[in-house]
Amino acid sequence: MDELRRHILKSGGGAALALLLGAGLLRPTRVLAANWNAPAFESKDVAGALRGLGAGAAQAQASADLKLDAPEIAENGAVVPLEIVSKIPNTSAIAVLIEKNPQPLAGHFEFSGPLLPQVSLRVKMAETSMVRVLALAGGKYYSSSKEIKVTAGGCGG
């Protein structure tokens, strides 16, 4: 995402990266991969995570074409399966946020080429929470969310 790249360019090592970019030595996606987006992933709230992703200001539009398939009740918060499929044309990235986790942002996926804009993954959930997914398509953000209840296990572990 552009704002993310701007952020990286502003932070440490930016000058060298800009130089390499200018020289065409690195593809932009490689630059992104070389730098874990700490401000977004380490944010303790959703707003901060969105800002870190560069989606802070943008008003995400709820979309039925962005589907989050997950059980409404998880037997164990240590492993909660999620399947996210975007039918929104030109989807280039999907982000997954678990609102009540100590650090809400769980993953960010950038798609290109023949990779379809969908992903399945398994996440930890600290407690019952809304799970929000965000898709970037044609410069606009779309969102979809679902509450997943996390239940207590037997025998006190």
Binding site: R27, T29, R30, L32, A33, W36, N37, F41, A78, V79, V80, E83, I98, N101, P102, Q103, L105, A106, G107, H108, F109, E110, F111, S112, G113, P114, L115, L116, Q118, V119, S120, L121, R122, V123, K124, M125
Partner: protein, 104 residues
């Protein structure tokens, strides 16, 4: 050394269902060791990529919320037998692991 990934690519028509299992503790840094009571330092995969025949098609970044021994699934169109997937992850210790599979 990190254990190898398990990568499975199943073809239905020209759409590949790509599943990957990674061996990684995915420690959040928020837990305490049951024996010593000391916090267990964070240790988790921060990013991974998928390349199809050498060209990157996915750049992913992950947080500590991804479950232990991560499992990811993707779908790709226009795939044929003989295509090669290379998956590479890097964790917060800088450790990295790359494995590949050829579509049968």
């Amino acid at each position: 050394m990190a254990d190898p990934m398990k990568i499975r690519a199943r073809l239905a028509g020209d759409v590949a269902d790509l599943r990957v299992l990674m061996a990684h503790p995915m420690e959040t840094g928020q837990r305490k060791d049951a024996r010593s009571g000391q916090p267990i330092p964070p240790h988790f995969i921060q990013k991974f990529s998928i390349a199809l025949n050498g060209t990157h098609v996915l750049e992913a970044q992950t947080g500590m919320a991804v479950s232990r021994n991560p499992v990811f699934g993707f779908k790709l169109a226009g795939i044929k037998a003989g295509d090669k997937f290379t998956i590479t992850w890097t964790d917060n210790h800088g450790e990295t692991r790359s494995d590949e599979t050829v579509v049968a």
